[in-house]
């Protein structure tokens, strides 16, 4: 199972096995990590699952939809490497991916 490392706003790192087909958001919620709130349950509605993806990992995920891009444009703490983790579907190639959880998810 691919292992995803979550770097939390307090600097701590958590390596979590995330089943293929689930999202980076799912892995965090499943393990009760703080920081990813996921109010809408993963329907790209709320922007409370904001993460930063390491540059060398970005190509492992589908490109952003216009909807995700627009939600992120005005999200607190938005950067060039921002993604909504509910849109990051994990595949076998994602083993070893690191994401940093935004401190601005509420």
């Amino acid at each position: 199972m691919p292992m995803v490392t979550y770097v939390l706003p307090d600097g701590s790192e958590h390596a979590i096995d995330v089943p293929c087909g689930q999202t980076v958001m799912d892995g965090s919620v499943r393990s009760n990590l703080p920081g990813i709130v996921a109010e809408c349950g993963g329907s790209c509605s709320c922007a409370t699952c904001h993460v930063y993806v390491d540059p060398d990992s970005q190509a492992l995920f589908d490109e952003m939809t216009d909807e995700e891009r627009e939600l992120l444009e005005f999200a607190d703490g938005a950067q060039a490497d921002s993604r909504l983790s509910c849109q990051l579907v994990v595949t076998t190639e994602c083993d070893g991916v690191r994401v940093t959880v935004s401190a601005a998810n509420g």
Partner: protein, 412 residues
């Protein structure tokens, strides 16, 4: 056998209610390092679940979307007691009593009892084929009852009613929405949004009757066949859905002597009038930044915000910053997102074209945004939410022009 704990806490938190608020709170307490005992009572026999799919996806989507995986609660050492309703609270003894008259002691109690559908006080609501929609069990029954080609009368043109109307209509059901006020969403949306959405539904074949008083439901063989209106007309139907709002389930709190006023009164830290009792979610009447008095907000973001407030209060963390209230709704291909409090502000700016299904209504007082109602416009929604929180002054003319980037609409 070794057991490791980062800290110890001999307090027991009892949560009454296993909805989105209660389910979120118990997870957040563990996230925040609360090491004491957590017991959550749920009246329904289901683990906490996402409620939006019940109306948004009740025909062909996944109804059962659990808030957390079933094993989560055991792993997090949270005791979940489903199908067990709490009947009374003894605040002096710090005990709650369940339906089996069993007592459970608490150090801190969190009431997250939610709301229940408002009943329609007319004859005929006990006929077969008359439904309300609040729980997963309700949605399962409604899903079976709604068949393509059948006719549904939806009493109440609120968000739940319109979401069900959209799904039913998209699946070939004959839909009539019956609204008592002179427009749909009268209580929650601006007049402009009501008009746009009503037109959107009508264009897709839904009949909407406004200013219509329901005086009864008629049936034969015990099954509903029509909705009787005050003007003597009858809306024929095979099923009827009553969606006329929800009432806070504050009976326990009232009986326990907590300050209540159609909802449990709480402060910005989710505290009730009893220092050992907190309340969160739809059952509360809560303060809201920039708005006088206490408000009832029936939304997931509000429930989550209050779960965060209660968690901070319980573990002694700094209070969380106030959030701009918001919620979302899906109707046909429209993803609606609304932020702020829609009252009757003096100014409204339309950005985009309602006919295209992509637009936003910005409500403002002298260029200061108080609310945004958006459809398929996540950028406008997020910007609007920021403008509301930050109090920036925007240029109405520039904001009305979709060619002007949102960032450039702020008056520097």
């Amino acid at each position: 056998m070794t057991q490791q704990r980062v800290s110890s806490d001999d307090r027991r938190v009892v949560v009454v209610g296993g909805g989105h608020a209660g389910g979120t709170l118990v997870g957040m307490l563990r996230q925040a390092g609360f090491a004491g005992e957590i017991v959550m009572f749920g009246q329904e026999t289901e683990l906490p679940y996402h409620r939006p799919p019940l109306s948004k996806k009740f025909i062909d989507g996944d109804l059962e979307q659990w808030l957390r995986a079933p094993e989560f609660y055991r792993e997090q050492n949270i005791s979940v007691r489903l199908g067990e309703s709490i009947e009374s609270i003894d605040p002096a003894a710090r005990r709650v009593y369940s339906s089996s008259a069993q007592a459970t002691e608490y150090d801190l109690l969190v009431l997250a009892t939610g709301a229940e559908p408002r009943r329609l006080p007319v004859p005929g609501t006990d006929l077969a084929g008359v439904f309300t929609l609040r729980t997963l069990a309700d949605a399962r029954v409604l899903r079976k009852a709604v068949i393509s080609g059948s006719r549904i009368a939806i009493i109440g043109g609120g968000y739940v009613g319109l979401e069900v109307a959209a799904v039913a209509r998209a699946n070939g059901v004959d839909v009539t929405v019956i609204e008592r006020e002179d427009r749909v969403l009268a209580r929650v949306a601006s007049t402009r949004l009501s008009e746009i959405l009503a037109a959107y539904h009508r264009d897709r074949g839904t009949k909407i009757l406004t200013g219509a008083q329901v005086v009864g439901l008629s049936g034969d063989d015990g099954h509903v066949r029509g909705v009787l209106l005050g003007d003597g007309t009858q809306v024929p139907c095979d099923i009827a859905l009553v969606g006329i709002g929800a009432l806070p389930r504050d009976e326990l709190a009232v009986a326990a002597g907590l300050a209540c006023e159609q909802g449990i009164l709480v402060d910005h830290r989710a505290r009730t009038s009893d220092p050992a009792i907190f309340a969160i979610g739809d059952v509360t009447r809560r303060p809201l930044t920039g708005v006088d008095g206490l408000q009832r907000l029936e939304s997931i973001p509000s429930a989550v915000e209050q779960a965060r407030q209660a968690t901070a209060s319980i573990v002694g963390a700094a209070p969380a910053p106030a959030e701009v209230p918001w919620f979302w709704s899906d109707q046909f291909d429209l993803k609606l997102k609304i932020a702020g409090v829609v009252s009757a502000p003096p100014g409204t700016i339309l950005r985009g074209d309602p006919a295209s299904g992509r637009f936003a209504l910005f409500h403002h007082v002298d260029g200061k945004i108080t609310a945004v109602e958006s459809a398929n416009s996540p950028g406008e929604f997020m910007a609007g939410k920021k403008f509301i929180a930050g109090g920036e002054r925007i240029d109405p003319t520039r904001l009305a022009d979709p060619a002007v980037p949102l960032r450039d609409t702020v008056i520097k």
